[in-house]
């Protein structure tokens, strides 16, 4: 392996892929062992569905159609983003328990710890997304778009959340301990998810907020997902959302990787 730690030959790449798989499998085993963390990942989106569907929903009017059809695609986007925060907690715990220290003394691929973590968190997100989708249908969500674009919408939000999880990985590695790690993500995550078109149309917000709320990435993803699921025109939102996801991945992955090299 090269001095920088990145795989160069094809044999090194094969080992790197195997290392990612080993690490990912370890994380998934832990998830299965402590289903509590799974339940936690589900409780919050379930609460949001119930809260907005039955408590706030009656007071919210959306331009065309029923609020539940507006709400559920938004909640799904929020759920996958919140799900990606798990990366922060997982890495901060590994760091605190000294496991990362141990991994650094092994001949394994340097990138495998981060890649294994983000990939296993992505798989968890897939399961959470399926459950909340089922929940959405239970409370009356009736998408009117094609199946293909429905699946496309799901893949888009998972990809966006995956890209963000590299940013959350950075936070997990920078946090002083696992307890504060999660809280450190809130100042970024709350404005992005709540000052967005996830729960209400942006047009309801004060005009100064609209500029931010309309153009920030989470709104773009929500617009794209909603448009695809409901089969309504949504301008270039899909392409803009995709561009945000690719951009986030290109910027955040090297940032997290650099941080990983530096933790000591």
């Amino acid at each position: 392996m090269s001095v920088s730690g990145a795989p160069t030959t094809s044999a090194e790449w094969r080992w790197a892929v195997r290392d990612v798989w080993t690490m990912g499998r370890r994380n998934i085993l832990a998830l299965v062992r402590i289903p509590v963390s799974f339940v936690f990942a589900l409780v919050q989106p379930v609460m949001f569905v119930l809260l907005f569907r039955y408590v706030f929903g009656g007071a919210i009017r959306v331009p065309n159609g029923q609020y539940v059809n507006f709400l559920i695609p938004g909640i799904l986007v929020q759920t996958t983003i919140f799900g990606a925060i798990g990366t922060t907690i997982g890495l901060a715990e590994d760091l605190q328990r000294g496991l990362i220290e141990r991994f650094r003394a092994l001949p394994m691929a340097r990138m495998a710890v981060l890649a294994g973590r983000t990939v296993s968190d992505l798989l968890r997100n897939v399961v959470v997304l399926l459950v909340i989708t089922g929940m959405g249908f239970l409370v009356g969500f009736r998408p009117t778009g094609s199946l293909i674009s429905y699946v496309g919408a799901s893949v888009l939000m998972l990809f966006f959340a995956y890209a963000l999880s590299w940013g959350f990985a950075y936070v997990g590695l920078a946090a002083p301990n696992s307890e504060t790690a999660q809280a450190m993500t809130f100042p970024v995550i709350f404005p992005l998810t709540f000052a967005s078109s996830i729960f209400v149309p942006v047009a309801f917000m004060p005009s100064w907020l609209q500029v931010f709320a309309r153009n920030q990435p989470v709104s773009q993803v929500a617009e794209a997902v909603r448009g695809l699921m409901l089969g309504v025109p949504h301008g270039h939102a899909t392409w803009i959302a995709l561009a945000w996801a690719v951009g986030a991945l290109v910027v955040l992955a090297p940032l997290a990787t650099r941080r990983y090299r530096r933790v000591a």
């Binding site: 195997r18 080993t22 370890r26 000294g98 991994f103 000591a264």
Partner: protein, 330 residues
């Protein structure tokens, strides 16, 4: 393979922008097949040394080779040739013992068959076969340590780093672990061991270096150091001060340093504790002197520091293991 498993020259490593000099010019050489003990109190730089040699962090100055490979330029080759058991047992609580070892085997890039064989073998060897399929969360401190050591051995490395392997263990677990380490040494493994306990270093290490504030203040074989440091203290209590003084005279030839009399207590520095105690009792009995108390005291790390530096070991140099999980390294 070179004759020296570890060779360092003037290793310096600072933290916090240079304000903490954790290592301040450390040079050591460990011949293959030997056990080298790095002895020092908390904060003397032991862990920093182990982290540099196991390529976790880089030195600021100086050079180090491990099994002939440079720790900075050939870090990956170093990693393939070492095993590390860190200061705190770092095993994955969410996995079973077996899963932990298999994971370590795969991350060491062993093939599937070897991984399976080694994991089973090591669990057997470390008395964990019955607990193999239990979550590590349910393990006792001693079991975790054993698993941690087993995890370091999965790839059968020729060189093993053990950072305070028995700190925090109860006496029985400590004895067990010492037994395992001695077994490894017999099979030819080179070991670098750090410890705060003179007794541990004395029992396991062929050669010792004493670390204080990132510098080596004494180095040599354990018997050389012992000769310098004085050995066991035999402490006798008499019923009167006059008896104590008479006793001290009678036993003057047993002690390597002048007897130390304080009130009715006489402290003698002796080389062979039990033999000296028996001889002392025989003589005192023959002289009709009554001994009301007797104690044999091994020199502690603190005694060593007092002798070598004239000051006590810095804060936190534990006489006894600190119970519990202790501080987690960040």
């Amino acid at each position: 393979m070179p004759d020296l498993a570890v060779e360092t020259h003037g290793i310096v490593r600072t933290f916090r922008d240079g304000s903490v000099r954790a290592l301040d010019g450390v040079s050591i050489a460990i011949p293959r097949g030997r056990v080298f003990g790095l002895l020092g109190p908390n904060g003397s730089g032991k862990t920093t040394m182990v982290r540099i040699l196991s390529t976790i962090i880089r030195p600021d100055e100086g050079s180090a080779t491990v099994n002939g490979f440079d720790v900075v330029r050939q870090a990956d080759a170093v990693r393939r040739s070492i095993g590390l058991a860190g200061q705190f047992a770092t095993v994955d609580d969410n996995l079973t013992g077996l899963e932990n070892l298999r994971m370590m085997g795969r991350l060491n890039h062993l093939d599937h068959a070897t991984v399976r064989v080694r994991a089973t073998q090591l669990l057997e060897q470390f008395g964990l076969a019955e607990a193999a399929r239990r979550n590590v969360k349910t393990y006792s401190g001693g079991m975790r340590r054993r698993l941690d050591l087993a995890a370091a051995l999965v790839a059968s490395p020729p060189l093993l780093f053990l950072d305070e392997p028995t700190t925090g263990l109860d006496p029985q677990s400590r004895q067990d672990l010492w037994g395992f380490i001695e077994g490894l040494v017999e099979s030819g493994t080179t070991v670098l061991l750090t410890t705060q306990y003179l007794e541990e270093a004395d029992r396991l290490a062929d050669e010792l270096a004493v670390l204080d504030h990132g510098r080596i203040i004494a180095q040599g074989t354990s018997s050389e150091l012992k000769a310098r440091l004085g050995a066991t203290v035999l402490s006798l209590t008499f019923s009167t001060t006059a008896d104590a003084e008479r006793g001290a005279l009678l036993l003057a030839d047993l002690t390597t340093k002048p007897a130390f009399v304080e009130g009715d207590v006489v402290d003698l520095t002796v080389t062979a504790g039990p033999a000296a105690a028996a001889e002392a009792l025989r003589r005192l009995d023959a002289a009709d002197l009554v001994v009301t108390g007797l104690a044999l005291r091994e020199p502690s790390l603190d005694d060593v520091f007092l002798t070598l530096t004239g000051h006590h070991a810095p804060d936190g140099a534990a006489e006894e293991p600190i119970a519990g999980s202790g501080r987690r390294r960040r």
